[in-house]
């Protein structure tokens, strides 16, 4: 077992592996504080997948007393062979070195593959051009020179939102990003489609120098399946699980004082562990800056029939009863969602959260399913075999 605890948010974690009969099983003991002068073991997590979710790129970096970080990184990598080493460095707080490591691996990936860049699957963004490679687990996000109307903001504003996410508690629901300046790619790896699109929507950021294409600014992020695409091929059971996750994502973001602004399904991704994660940050605002309102009742028939709102709307006004519009066209998903999370349509739900945040309350973000938690009921002591 690694000799020092990992700390993050309200939890402490002891990480190790069990050897038995020549086989090894990673495990983690999450320890919580009862805020009454004592601690308790909340559960035990087994297996690579559960440890991997704990060390996810969607969470705030851990504190761990590791004077030689690479020793911890190597141990953790043995527990989670599928996790990139760059992300393990980042998870321990060495995100700048994680970036170096990522870049070295990306270079090698390009050397050892031949496939071309493609536009990332999903609905095209109004603010970002997103491309990837079929063989690659990451996406590249380039801010467009001009945003598709009605999107009305500047490049600097978008970059400020990404910078905010980098420092904020991502609560397991926002993807970490690495920001690159002047990143060079081999020109021959771009399909004409991607090259044309880059020149069309972000000409100020693209330079071609012989065999190289330099992109002056971009973000790299882990690739996920856009939620709207995931739903298309999902079974009923999958729709149920992923809609529950989607609701939990919105609620946990809110508890972390983030209002996503644009909650369209396409702005969320599904990870390989089936978790729903937000990744479109241009509209986010601190929840405490939002003014949640009910739509006023119309005072006359003319008002009711008017094509524009009959009430004035401030810039931070938000009307939760309109949230069902985010399901645009996906009534199957909406029906399931409404059974699980209809409280988000209520103004009182959001105001309640705002009050909690104002009072200084810090939410628990469990990096495991709640049903795994131990009961904390006193047990009868019995003789063990």
């Amino acid at each position: 077992m690694l000799e020092h605890h990992f700390f993050r948010n309200k939890g402490a974690y002891v990480v190790g592996r069990i050897y038995s009969g020549g086989r090894s099983m990673p495990f983690v003991l999450p320890i919580l504080h009862n805020e009454a002068g004592a601690v308790y073991v909340d559960t035990i997590l087994f297996g690579s997948d559960m440890v991997s979710v704990l060390f996810s790129f969607t969470r705030t970096y851990f504190f761990v007393d590791a004077s030689i970080p690479s020793q911890y990184v190597l141990f953790l990598q043995q527990l989670m062979p599928a996790k990139p080493i760059s992300e393990i460095y980042s998870a321990m707080g060495y995100n700048k070195h994680g970036k170096t490591y990522y870049h070295r691996c990306a270079f090698r990936h390009m050397q050892s593959t031949t496939d071309k860049f493609i536009i990332a699957p999903g609905i095209k963004g109004m603010v970002m051009l997103v491309f990837t490679m079929p063989s690659y687990d990451f996406v590249f996000k380039v801010i467009k020179d001009r945003f598709t109307p009605p999107k009305d903001m500047t490049r600097e504003q978008v970059m400020a939102k990404y910078a905010l996410v980098k420092r904020w508690d991502r609560a397991g629901r926002m993807a970490d990003t690495q920001e690159f300046k002047n990143l060079a790619f081999a020109r021959d790896r771009f399909s004409e489609e991607v090259m044309d699109e880059l020149h069309a929507v972000a000409p100020s950021l693209v330079e071609e120098h012989g065999k190289a294409v330099v992109i002056k600014h971009l973000y790299v992020e882990r690739r996920m399946t856009p939620l709207n695409l995931y739903l298309r091929n999902a079974s009923d059971a999958q729709v149920h699980d992923v809609m529950d996750e989607y609701g939990n994502a919105i609620k946990q973001l809110a508890a972390a004082n983030i209002f996503p602004g644009d909650m369209l399904l396409k702005n969320f991704g599904v990870t390989r562990h089936g978790r729903v994660v937000f990744y479109d940050y241009d509209e986010i605002v601190p929840l405490t800056d939002c003014n949640f309102r009910e739509i006023p009742a119309p005072r006359s028939e003319a008002e009711e029939m008017a094509s524009t709102p009959w009430y004035s709307v401030g810039p931070n006004d938000i009307f939760p009863e309109e949230f069902s519009l985010f399901f645009s066209g996906n009534q199957r998903a909406r029906k399931v969602f409404d059974q699980l999370h209809s409280d988000i349509y209520e103004v009182s739900f959001w105001k309640g959260l705002q009050e909690k945040i104002h009072s200084g309350y810090v939410e628990d973000f469990f990096p495991y399913r709640r049903e795994l938690r131990f009961s904390r009921q006193p047990v009868e002591l019995t003789e063990t075999a």
Binding site: G16, G37, A38, F63, S70, Q71, K96, T100, R167, V362
Partner: protein, 179 residues
């Protein structure tokens, strides 16, 4: 070249200083947990992210003074990279020290002219230090009762505040393992 020596030593000192501050924020985390200081943990988290930029900025001020006219000379940086690499050879955390050097380089050249001759696009020393993982873990062998082993383990990972009910936790863990 005496000036080059001072230049690379300044960058390495900058890294050590960053690393020490990083460690100190980290060392306080256990006490914050014990004190249930959740807002403090959040603030420390942001503070630690911001340390990097603050520390590279400090170093850049010094290296500007030391390098003078040569600050933007690529030949100077080529020699600096080689000398720095010699300096950190055998360093426990040379890989992070290389990243720190890269950050100083990128700040000077505004993220242009990034080549392996001038910065550590790749590491001449390897991707990771040859770390001995066995130094950082404790081993518990099951010789007798599982409960007895779990009790020793929880005692080793105890905090300044006690367990609410250690026997209960041991039973829960044992049952989860046996299932």
């Amino acid at each position: 070249m005496e000036k080059l020596e001072r230049f690379v030593r300044t960058i390495l000192n900058g890294f050590e200083s960053y690393f020490a501050e990083f460690q100190n924020v980290t060392l306080a985390a256990k006490s914050r947990f014990e004190n249930a200081d959740w807002l403090g943990i959040r603030a420390a988290s942001i503070q630690r992210i911001d340390l990097y930029k603050a520390n590279t900025a400090k170093v850049i001020e010094y290296v500007q003074v030391i390098a003078g006219d040569e600050l933007r000379e690529l030949d100077f940086w080529r020699e600096a990279r080689d000398r720095y690499s010699e300096l950190i050879e055998g360093h426990n955390n040379f890989e992070i020290a290389e990243t720190f050097f890269n950050s100083v380089y990128c700040a000077v050249f505004k993220h242009r002219k990034i080549r392996n001759e001038y910065a550590f696009v790749f590491s001449p020393l390897g991707d990771m230090p040859p770390s001995d993982v066995s130094k950082v873990y404790r081993t518990y062998r099951l010789d007798g009762q599982l409960d007895e082993l779990l009790e020793r383990m929880l005692a080793d990972y105890a905090f300044s505040v006690p367990y609410e009910d250690m026997q209960r936790d041991i039973v829960c863990i044992r049952e989860a393992i046996n299932n």
